[in-house]
């Protein structure tokens, strides 16, 4: 496919024009094998294939994102007028107690949820790939039924977050929930998990987030651990390393990149725990920043809502940058 551009003095200009408009099968033979026609044909094809996807993407994704940055600095309330008001929305946010309440919750989730989820995911993944009884001649073996565990753990991942939130809303229900029903049969009166104390609501939300994502990380990490060559583990075993030492000194450093990617991904998920909190929590209970944003949007405070969105974006960027710095060493090739 040559893009050779000679000084253009096309001998059959009309034929070229006709060939450019007509479907390829009507292209005259004399033009078909001309280099310039082939270049034209290539660009026509590229433009034709890119036009619709790019148009969709530009209109419904790129333009809203760019508009969001602009509207964050306006007092737009849905009407035709949006006055530029500088940083007023951000000042308002700074002084808005409800913003801080929801953001403290979001930041707590951002810090705690990835750690808990990744530790559990890594533990289970290691048990599944290396926790099994050793068979003759094998340095590392998975537990029996390892694929069954992965299937069950992964269940929550294929469900809609809204459905997960509805299910857990019932599980945590004060009077007729699964947890309080269980506590009741032990003779304990269960608390109001969601609408009561802040700490309990936070624990409930964390539980749901971890429950949803642990399976994802078990699958992810066991794939990464499975990719480590067996002889590395064999060597560690021969040198007398126990399972704990092997994990911390051999396995973990080798899957570090996957862990870091997973950590960033999980942090962004925790920061965006919109559906879980909106659907599961009663209206006046704990909120997270995206829910606070959504409520301002429904009230018609469009400018303020987009400003909150910008802050959320900044938070996720800062978080990603910090995590990318943690333990940043040379990549180990194997």
């Amino acid at each position: 496919m040559s893009t050779d551009k000679r000084p253009a003095r096309p001998p059959h200009l009309l034929l070229f024009l006709a060939a450019a408009v007509l479907p390829p099968r009507f292209t005259p033979e004399s033009v078909r094998y001309d280099r310039r026609y082939r270049t034209l044909d290539k660009y026509r094809f590229i433009a034709g294939f890119l036009a619709i996807p790019l148009a969709f993407y530009a209109v419904f994704v790129v333009s809203p994102f760019l508009q969001a940055i602009y509207y964050a600095f306006t007092d737009w309330s849905g009407g035709p007028v949006a006055n530029f008001i500088g940083f007023d929305n951000f000042v308002k946010m700074w002084n808005d107690e409800r913003f801080w309440d929801s953001t403290v919750t979001s930041l707590t989730l951002l810090v705690v949820a990835p750690v808990v989820t990744l530790v559990l995911g890594m533990f289970f993944a290691y048990m599944i790939t290396a926790g099994g009884r050793h068979r003759r001649g094998q340095a590392i073996a998975g537990v029996a039924g390892s694929s069954l565990y992965k299937v069950v753990y992964f269940f929550p991942q294929v469900l809609s977050v809204a459905i997960v939130a509805v299910v857990w809303g019932r599980v945590f229900n004060t009077n007729a929930g699964l947890i309080n029903g269980g506590l009741n049969s032990l003779g304990i009166k269960g608390p109001a998990w969601l609408g009561g104390e802040y700490g309990l609501a936070l624990i409930a939300t964390l539980t749901v987030i971890c429950w949803s994502f642990v399976g994802f990380y078990v699958v992810l990490f066991s794939a990464a651990m499975g990719a480590i060559p067996k002889d590395i583990h064999e060597a560690a075993l021969l040198d007398g390393a126990g399972r704990g030492t092997t994990f911390f000194r051999v396995t973990l450093p080798l899957i570090r990149d996957t862990v870091r990617t997973g950590w960033i991904y999980m942090g962004i998920q925790a920061l965006d725990s919109f559906a879980i909190v909106l659907v599961m929590m009663p209206p006046h209970a704990m909120k997270v920043t995206p829910v606070f944003l959504y409520e301002r949007f429904r009230e018609g405070q469009f400018g303020y809502a987009t400003a909150i969105g910008v802050v959320l974006l900044l938070l996720s960027v800062v978080f990603s940058l910090i995590v990318m710095r943690v333990g940043d060493r040379d990549r180990i090739e194997y």
């Binding site: 994704v61 048990m127 294929v158 977050v161 509805v166 049969s185 021969l238």
Partner: protein
């Protein structure tokens, strides 16, 4: 630490000794690890099993004793959920939207990805980065302007609008993923097709797409689940008319409504109807689903 001292003794016997030691130490750990694995498996499944069992009980029974088993299966809940709670209608809405959006996403995504992966043209890199960059922004940032854009196009509260939004927000990852997939395909086949006189379009549809099938399946599953389970976009763009709700949205609003009316049975039946097909499909295609969903993080 008795295993360690033993290891010192047996270590001298070399390779076999090492294996013996681990076999003994491993037994205790094996029980321990199995216990944890089973515990989490129970935790992962318990809420779902509880919902499925409770769906067969009357609302009165559920409120009386949430832990009980159904005395006799109360199938009426499912009928109530399907018709009175409109779960049937929501499922149909979801199917219609998904049929349009998944087809559109796969078609447009693979077209863009093919061109980016296999052709050199000015701006190639820019277009690629433009799509890839879209993956980094949270959808919630675009929430308000997207609402206004949809309103301007008259697409608010329509199925077409929902389909368009699903496609647009699935394109970044779909294009990114398929671009790297198309790059791995051999160039010879494409050239041979061109030499034989196939047009670019024909080469794409008859040669390259069939060759890209494994990649298309992975990203297809990813988009299928992502779009079937979508909640934020319908909540934003399809909120006016209750009969046009999609499944997750309908169940979330049903949960609020049943909180007042107290018909827990129908809600649990509705949840079961929504969950079982997805879980069955997942159980059948588990390997592909796991690969498809983790593909994003492993890139």
């Amino acid at each position: 630490m008795s295993t360690r001292s033993k290891a010192g003794r047996t270590g001298a016997r070399g390779r076999r000794g090492g294996a013996d030691r681990v076999r003994e130490g491993g037994a205790a750990l094996n029980v321990f690890s199995h216990a944890f694995l089973v515990l989490w498996a129970v935790m992962a499944a318990a809420p779902l099993i509880w919902v499925a069992i409770t769906a067969l009980r009357t609302s009165g029974d559920i409120l009386g004793d949430p832990m009980g088993l159904p005395s006799s299966p109360h199938w009426q809940n499912f009928a109530n959920a399907w018709t009175e709670a409109h779960i049937g209608q929501y499922a149909v809405n979801s199917l219609i939207v998904l049929a349009g959006s998944l087809t559109g996403t796969m078609l447009l995504g693979s077209m863009a990805a093919y061109v980016i992966a296999r052709f050199t043209f000015p701006g190639n890199r820019f277009v690629f980065l433009l799509f890839a960059g879209g993956m980094m922004f949270p959808v919630i940032l675009a929430l308000v302007p997207l609402f206004a854009v949809m309103e301007n196009f008259g697409l608010l509260d329509t199925r077409a609008g929902l389909i368009v939004a699903y496609i647009a927000y699935s394109l970044p990852f779909t294009t990114f993923f398929l671009t790297s997939f198309f790059r791995t395909l051999p160039t010879g086949v494409q050239e041979a097709a061109m030499v034989d006189g196939a047009s670019h379009t024909r080469t794409f549809f008859q040669i390259m797409l069939p060759m890209a099938k494994p990649g298309l399946v992975s990203i297809g599953i990813f988009n299928f689940l992502g779009q079937w389970n979508q909640y934020l976009l319908p909540l934003l763009l399809n909120n006016e008319n209750e009969t046009s709700y999609v499944l997750p949205q309908g169940l979330a609003s049903l949960a609020v409504a049943q909180g007042y009316r107290g018909d827990w049975g129908a809600l649990f039946a509705g949840l079961t109807i929504a969950m079982v097909p997805v879980l069955v499909v997942y159980a059948v295609f588990q390997r592909q689903v796991q690969a498809g969903l983790t593909a994003g993080a492993l890139k």
